[in-house]
Structures are given as structure tokens and as C-alpha cells.
């Protein structure tokens, strides 16, 4: 509830209140089977929570500095209505700058099909503890779930200032080698509908990142991994990167851990 009181951001507040208004703390069936009022409900519904670092890794690219990278997701709620916090970001080592949230999102999520959630909310990009990085605030609409062939999918639209719309799609798939060894290919692609020099966004495909990780589940909640990735920027995005003297294509290795709480 406090989210609503302290937040001034209309969109966040409305998303949160929408979520909370349909999330009773205890669900009772309005079933009129003559039970006295002071009897408990025979079945109480419990709200659940989950928090996980899908990736918490140290990345060593071929060109440029090493980085500490995170990909975090947490939710709280019922089977149907949930509140999500998602964040991805990195702290590039030795660049004199503080860590950056590539995204920090607060989303209302609703189950719309067996395997799919519709999500809407607000996102923030910028420094974690500092003003070292460009800041932007954007709206998010997306679908998260499991596509056929068990492809974990997170597809979202970002609505930026000045009508700049981007779309990002993340896909992951687990190949089970043994009961504890998994091979996980993953890909991330960013596409933009229009161009924004300020945001470093070009029209069309902006970037593509493909990775492969080998993970060992010591427990279901603690799984170290090693992996590698290849990434590349395209079109106007790449031009802007070049102009800033940054790499447009890179490969690297990662070592990290998948954590669930």
C-alpha cells in the first residue's frame, strides 16, 4: 500500500493500485454455505513472492573493460495479478563511473493465458547511485511467458519521450544435458520505430546479442555457470556508437551464478 502513498508518479500509482485492488490479502468464497461468520474459510489463498537473479555475472569482453552484469526479476502477488520489479544493468570496471541501470521497471502483471502475462508499467534508465549516466524514464507494455518449445520470452515495447518507441525481445531456452547440467542459448534484440540521437537510438534493428551458458544446478536455487556471448550494433545506432569511439561488435566470456530466493 505504501507504494501508492509515497509515489508521485501517476502511472506507477495507477498500475500499483490496479494491482492491489484486485489482490485481496485473503480470498474468501462468497459461497453462502451457512457457515457462521466467525469460522475461518476452509481454504485460504496465499500470496506468493519470488526473487531471482537470472544472471549475476562477471563479463570479460574481447575489447573494452570487464563488467559486472545483473539481470534481476522479482514479483509479489496472486496467481493472476502480480507486481513485478525487473532490472538489468552493469558496472563497467575501471571506467571511473558508477553502476548503471539499463532498466529498472515497476510493472503490473496479469495472467492472460496459461503461459502468458501481460505487463504494463514504468521504467527508468540511469545511474544507480550517481548522475554518471544519461537518465530517461519510459512507459512499458509487454508480454512475458513461455512460448511453445519452452522458449522463455520477454517481449516489451518502451515508450520514450518525444514519441520514440523501441521494442526489445529476450528469448531463452534450456537444453537439459543431465538432471543438473543445462545448456542455455539466449538472445536479445532491440528494434526501434524511429530515431533519437539523444538516446542513441537508430531506426530498425539497433542491436543483437546472442549468448550460450552452461549451468550447473547445485540446488534449484543456486546454479553457477560459464558462458560466452557475441553482440553487435546496427545501422544508425552503430554509427552513433562509432562516433563516440565505442565498439559496434564484440564477443566475450562470462562467469556467474543464477540465484533464486
Amino acid at each position: 500500500m505504501s507504494i501508492i502513498c509515497i509515489s508521485r508518479h501517476a502511472v506507477i500509482a495507477s498500475a500499483a493500485s490496479a494491482a492491489l485492488s484486485v489482490m485481496p490479502l485473503l480470498a474468501y468464497a462468497e459461497d453462502g454455505y451457512d457457515a457462521p461468520a466467525d469460522w475461518p474459510s476452509p481454504m485460504a489463498e496465499h500470496l506468493q513472492w519470488s526473487a531471482a537473479f537470472d544472471r549475476l555475472e562477471y563479463a570479460s569482453p574481447d575489447k573494452g573493460n570487464n563488467a559486472l552484469v545483473w539481470d534481476f526479476q522479482a514479483w509479489y502477488g496472486s496467481d493472476v495479478n502480480r507486481l513485478y520489479v525487473k532490472s538489468e544493468g552493469e558496472n563497467i570496471q575501471g571506467d571511473g563511473e558508477d553502476a548503471e541501470f539499463e532498466s529498472l521497471e515497476l510493472l503490473y502483471s496479469r495472467l492472460v493465458a496459461d503461459f502468458w502475462e501481460f505487463q504494463a508499467g514504468m521504467g527508468y534508465q540511469g545511474g544507480v547511485f550517481s548522475d554518471d549516466h544519461e537518465e530517461r524514464v519510459y512507459g512499458v507494455l509487454g508480454f512475458q511467458g513461455t512460448a511453445p518449445y519452452r522458449i522463455e520470452t520477454d517481449a516489451a515495447l518502451q515508450f520514450n519521450e518525444g514519441g520514440i518507441v523501441t521494442a526489445s525481445i529476450e528469448l531463452e531456452h534450456d537444453v537439459r544435458l543431465t538432471q543438473r547440467w543445462y545448456l542455455q542459448p539466449r538472445s536479445e534484440i532491440v528494434v526501434a520505430a524511429n530515431e533519437s540521437e539523444a538516446l542513441g537510438i537508430g531506426r530498425g534493428v539497433n542491436s543483437l546479442r546472442i549468448g550460450l551458458r552452461a549451468r550447473y544446478e547445485i540446488t534449484r536455487r543456486f546454479a553457477p555457470y560459464v558462458g560466452m556471448y557475441w553482440e553487435r550494433q546496427y545501422g544508425a545506432t552503430a554509427d552513433m556508437q562509432r562516433a563516440e569511439g565505442e565498439e559496434v561488435e564484440n564477443t566475450g566470456v562470462v562467469v556467474g551464478v543464477k540465484l533464486m530466493f
Binding site: P40, P42, P148, Q179
Partner: protein
């Protein structure tokens, strides 16, 4: 029968004192409840058989050893599982249950026909038993057989709050035996059940360490060829489901217990060569189906869910959660026999020994491999293309009519609930299309040995109400595996308004259609369900019906028990997730 019914001679206070003393004495040695005495009932009745009609039970949380590890189960009169409650048909039972825990509790007498306020379901029968309170259950004992009791509060059943309930018949049983043993199967976890539930809710397949791997794929390619394998596997992949999803909670967290003993503790029941031994087998586990056999002994099933059936000789039987089967065995040799109860998903087993003397043991059978679900599980998925199933093992499907599996037209049934179906209803006792009573179920090979199937069950005598059903009620068993949502007709208990309504004294047919890929043991409180397995007026009656994936099961019910009753899936975490309804008879 050498059963004696001791009248209540000690004072209740003394009894409570005795039981707590027991908790520090005999019970401290381990988890064997004293009713599970190796001598069985041929010996002097053991001290923790609580004989009716007046019984006092105290419920606590105490330190105990389970499978050699110190833990804190819920105890009843000092033992976990609890004492055997032994009543006699015709008695007026008076059972005082005192809650010495710091959370509310309850006892439900599973399978017992009694007044609704004595059924022990908090929120439906009564308010529950608050910490420090005593609730007195009083009910006339109008039946006999093998039953059990357990908590109906939260997830307490998973913490050892269960025990056997044996009712001796007023008239001699239809079968002769020299000795009896109760075999109570339970599944124990050292995790907090709330965490088990959260694991299931937040991570699909959390407890399954027998999933298919790349190696299984190549093994299948070698066996069935590339094309068949790819087709079969891609169908499962398209559905985003696992053909190895046999049990939600597995041996990766469970220790399977028999009479409170882990397999290596080897609970032993004694016999003398040539004696006929009655084994009262109860599945008191939270989530685990077992396949029970005693290599070297033929078992004769003589009762199902406490009710006598015509004898069926079998080598093995599957017992669903909350079911009970009585079997007779006659060991002719002076040697030990292993009682082997393998979990349905093959992730572990419970084990005990029948022997002429203590300290003996026999070989433990080799464990079987987990089976892959085949097309029987797909009945739930209407738009299936069966041709894709080539290369799967259909042997167990042999005499199935596939056309009934998918694309069955249920539409004519829709909206019929509550209306009399004058035409188009099957005769009383007839098998519904889509039932598979001739199949033992996933992972059992009926070619290899004689396995009990529902079709084998015939009542010893017709049950009194011979009226044909006046109407049908159809319920779909539904679920979303990904989010661990379980429900009837797509609605969790929190989403329905109003109970399922039975008219007082009507004769109705309940049709259960399993739209999920899991087995569900469906339990109706307060009334019997007469399983329509094709035996006309000899259909058996049960309190818990196992419904296989994609199966359509029906039962006749005489709605003679006025009041509100629980109706639910007896898989504890399915029930907790919402697979629960109230049935109101008025």
C-alpha cells in the same frame, strides 16, 4: 477375530498423562507407533491402540526422530503417525481432541459417515480446534472397515498429523484371517510444507529430477527412429509440458514411510507359517501414489476404501492418496517377505518386512524406471493429432477406443448441471465412454504381473439404494501446471460463489472429467460414491476416486446426508491451491 473392546476405565487425565509419558518413553526410540507392533493383532493389544467408544487424543508438536534425523512432527498422544483409533460398529464414539499446539487444528475421520458437525473440516463442519481447546467428537459408528484420520487444517497432514482408524464389524467379516497388520504409508519431508508449496508455485518442476535429457532423446532415436522421436518430443515441447511429470513432489524431498519407518528402518510384521494375514493398507500420504507388492506372495484384495469387495487375487496394486485396500496373504514358508511400495514416479519407495521372526529381511526388488506419459494423458488436449503418437508405447493402451479420447463431444452436457437428463443418460452402473477402468495406470505393466484395476472391484452385496440416477452433475478437473493452479471447472475455491448443490435424498450421478495430465484422487465427505465400473448393482462404493489423466469417471451418490461437506482433490497441495468445493445437501 480376537479383538476385544476395552471399555474406558482410566480417567482422561491419566490417559493424557500416560500418553505424554509415552512420548518420552517408547516413542523417543523412534517413530514406530506402538500400534504398529510387530505382533499385529494376534498379540495383546498394544498400548497406543486407543479403543473406543471413549477416546482422548492430545495433539502436540514434539521433537522426534524421523528416518534417523531429529525433527519436529505433529504428534498425537505422543506418536507420529498417531495412535490407531479402534472403534466397533454400533458404538457411540466419543473422541475428545485436545490441541496443545499454538496453532488451530482439527481431525477429519476420513471415509466415515457421520453428522456434518462431526466431520472435522474447519470452516465447513466447525470452527476448528483453537490452541488449548478440546473438541468432543460424538458420532454413531454405523460402518466397519479400514479407514484413517488426519488434520484438515492447513498443511498439517504433511507434518505427521494422521493415523489409522479401524472399525471392527458387529457381524463377522466375510473372510477369515488369523492375524492383522495395519500398513500406513506416508510421505515425510524435512522441509516446511509452506516452502514446499512455494517451491511448487514459483518453479515448475522444482522436485522433478527425472526429467528427460538429451541422452533420453538419443536413446529414443536408436529405439524408434529419428522421425518418430522428433514428432513425439516436439508434441510435448509444443505443449510446453513434461511427459515425466508424474508426481509434483518426489523422493528428492520425500522419505517414504511405512508405519512411520523409513525403508532402512525396516518395519517388520510377524506371522506364523500358514497363517492368513490381513493387511490393512492405507495411503495416508500428502502427495504420493504407491504401487505395492510383496514378491513371493499373492495378495487377495477383500476390501476397498473400507468396504468389502469380492475377492480379487493380485500381484500388485496401485493405491492413490487417501485410498485404503485390505488384502489377505498366506505365507507358506518360514522366511521373510519384503513389502515393497514404490512411489508412482519411481523416485523412491517405502519398505517393510513380513517375517516369522524379528531381525529377518528379504531382497528388495529392483526399482523401475520412471515412465513417460503417453497419449492417455493427452485426452485432455482436444486438438491432438494422434498420428503423431506413432512410436510411443501403446501396449498399455491396447483396447482403448481412441476416438473417445480427443474431440469427445461434451457440448450436450454443458449447462445440464442441475437439470434432470431424462434421455441420453446411461443405465445405472454403466461405464462412461472415456473411462479406463481396465488400466492400472502409468508405469504399470499389466502383462508382467496381475495388477489391480478399478474394473476388478465388485461389491460383495448390492448397496441399498437401487434407484437410477435422477440427474447428472459434471465436473472437470482443471489445472495450470505452469502456475500450479488447480481447480474444478477452471475455478479455484476462492473464485466460486456458492456450493455444489445436491437435493436431499436424491440419487445422482457425478461425472468427473480430468482435463489435466496428472492423476487426482477425488474425495467426497459425508457420502459414499458408487463407482460406475460396469458391474450393475454390484458396483463398489468408495470415498476416494482416482481419476487418471484424460479420464472420465462417474459415480452414483445417494444424497442422504443433509448439511455442508467438503469435496476436493486429496493431493494436499492441489487442495491448498484451490481444488476444493463445498457440497451442500438440502
Amino acid at each position: 477375530m480376537k479383538g476385544t473392546t476395552s471399555t474406558f476405565s482410566t480417567s482422561r487425565r491419566q490417559l493424557l498423562k500416560t500418553s505424554s509419558a509415552l512420548g518420552l518413553g517408547a516413542m523417543a526410540l523412534g517413530m514406530t507407533p506402538a500400534w504398529a507392533s510387530p505382533l499385529g493383532r494376534a498379540a495383546a493389544a498394544s498400548r497406543t491402540v486407543e479403543s473406543g467408544p471413549e477416546i482422548a487424543l492430545a495433539i502436540r508438536r514434539e521433537d522426534r526422530l524421523v528416518a534417523g534425523q531429529r525433527t519436529r512432527p505433529i504428534t498425537i498422544n505422543g506418536s507420529s503417525p498417531g495412535p490407531m483409533v479402534r472403534l466397533k460398529e454400533g458404538q457411540e464414539a466419543v473422541i475428545r481432541v485436545t490441541n496443545l499446539m499454538d496453532e488451530p487444528t482439527s481431525i477429519h475421520w476420513h471415509g466415515i459417515i457421520l453428522p456434518p458437525e462431526m466431520d472435522g473440516v474447519p470452516g465447513i463442519s466447525f470452527a476448528g480446534i483453537a490452541p488449548g481447546d478440546t473438541f468432543t467428537y460424538r458420532f454413531p459408528v454405523t460402518q466397519s472397515g479400514t479407514y484413517w484420520y488426519h488434520s484438515h487444517s492447513g498443511l498439517q497432514e504433511q507434518e505427521g498429523h494422521a493415523g489409522p482408524l479401524i472399525i471392527d464389524a458387529a457381524t463377522p467379516d466375510a473372510f477369515q484371517y488369523d492375524r492383522e497388520h495395519v500398513l500406513l504409508l506416508t510421505d515425510w519431508t524435512f522441509e516446511d510444507p509452506k516452502n514446499v508449496f512455494r517451491n511448487l508455485k514459483t518453479m515448475e518442476g522444482y522436485y522433478n529430477f527425472q526429467e528427460r535429457t538429451v541422452a533420453d532423446f538419443f536413446a529414443d532415436v536408436r529405439r524408434n527412429g529419428l522421425q518418430d522421436t522428433v514428432e513425439a518430443r516436439s508434441m510435448w515441447a509444443e505443449m510446453r509440458m513434461s511427459s515425466r511429470d508424474i508426481s509434483d513432489v518426489t523422493g528428492s524431498t520425500y522419505t517414504y514411510l511405512l508405519n512411520g519407518n523409513a525403508p532402512d528402518e525396516n518395519w517388520t510384521g510377524l506371522f506364523r507359517r500358514g497363517e492368513t494375514v490381513r493387511l490393512r493398507v492405507i495411503n495416508g500420504s500428502a502427495m504420493s501414489y504407491f504401487d505395492l507388492r510383496i514378491p513371493g506372495l499373492k495378495m487377495t484384495v477383500v476390501a476397498a476404501d473400507g468396504q468389502p469387495v469380492q475377492p480379487v487375487p493380485v500381484d500388485e496394486f496401485r493405491i492413490g492418496v487417501a485410498e485404503a485396500y485390505d488384502v489377505l496373504v498366506t505365507p507358506e514358508d518360514d522366511k521373510a517377505y519384503t513389502i515393497f511400495a514404490e512411489a508412482m514416479d519411481r523416485s523412491g519407495y517405502a519398505r517393510a518386512t513380513l517375517a516369522p521372526r524379528m531381525g529377518m529381511q528379504a531382497n528388495i526388488p529392483a526399482r523401475r524406471d520412471i515412465a513417460d506419459r503417453g497419449m492417455e494423458a493427452m485426452g485432455a488436449h482436444g486438438s491432438m493429432n494422434h498420428s503423431k503418437m506413432a512410436g510411443m508405447d501403446h501396449s498399455k493402451m491396447a483396447d482403448m477406443d481412441h476416438s473417445e479420447m480427443a474431440g469427445m463431444d461434451h457440448s450436450k452436457m454443458a449447462g445440464m448441471q442441475g437439470e434432470a437428463l431424462a434421455a441420453g443418460m446411461l443405465a445405472a452402473g454403466a461405464v462412461q465412454p472415456g473411462a479406463r477402468y481396465d488400466q492400472a495406470g502409468i508405469g504399470l505393466d499389466q502383462q508382467q504381473r496381475r495388477v489391480l484395476v478399478y474394473q476388478d472391484l465388485k461389491a460383495l452385496a448390492p448397496w441399498p439404494d437401487r434407484r437410477p440416477p435422477q440427474r447428472e452433475i459434471e465436473l472437470h478437473l482443471t489445472g495450470n501446471m505452469e502456475r500450479y493452479m488447480w481447480s474444478f471447472d477452471g475455478k479455484k475455491f476462492s473464485e466460486v460463489n456458492g456450493p455444489i448443490h445436491f437435493n436431499k435424498d436424491e440419487r445422482l450421478r457425478l461425472i468427473l472429467i480430468n482435463d489435466t495430465m496428472m492423476e487426482h484422487p477425488i474425495h467426497l465427505h459425508g457420502m459414499w460414491m458408487e463407482l460406475e465400473n460396469g458391474h450393475g448393482e454390484m458396483i463398489p462404493r468408495k470415498h476416494t476416486l482416482n481419476v487418471k489423466p484424460g479420464e472420465r469417471v462417474s459415480a452414483l451418490i445417494t444424497a442422504d446426508a443433509e448439511g455442508s461437506w467438503a469435496f476436493h482433490c486429496h493431493l494436499l497441495y492441489h487442495m491448498d491451491a484451490g481444488m476444493f468445493r463445498v457440497v451442500k445437501v438440502s
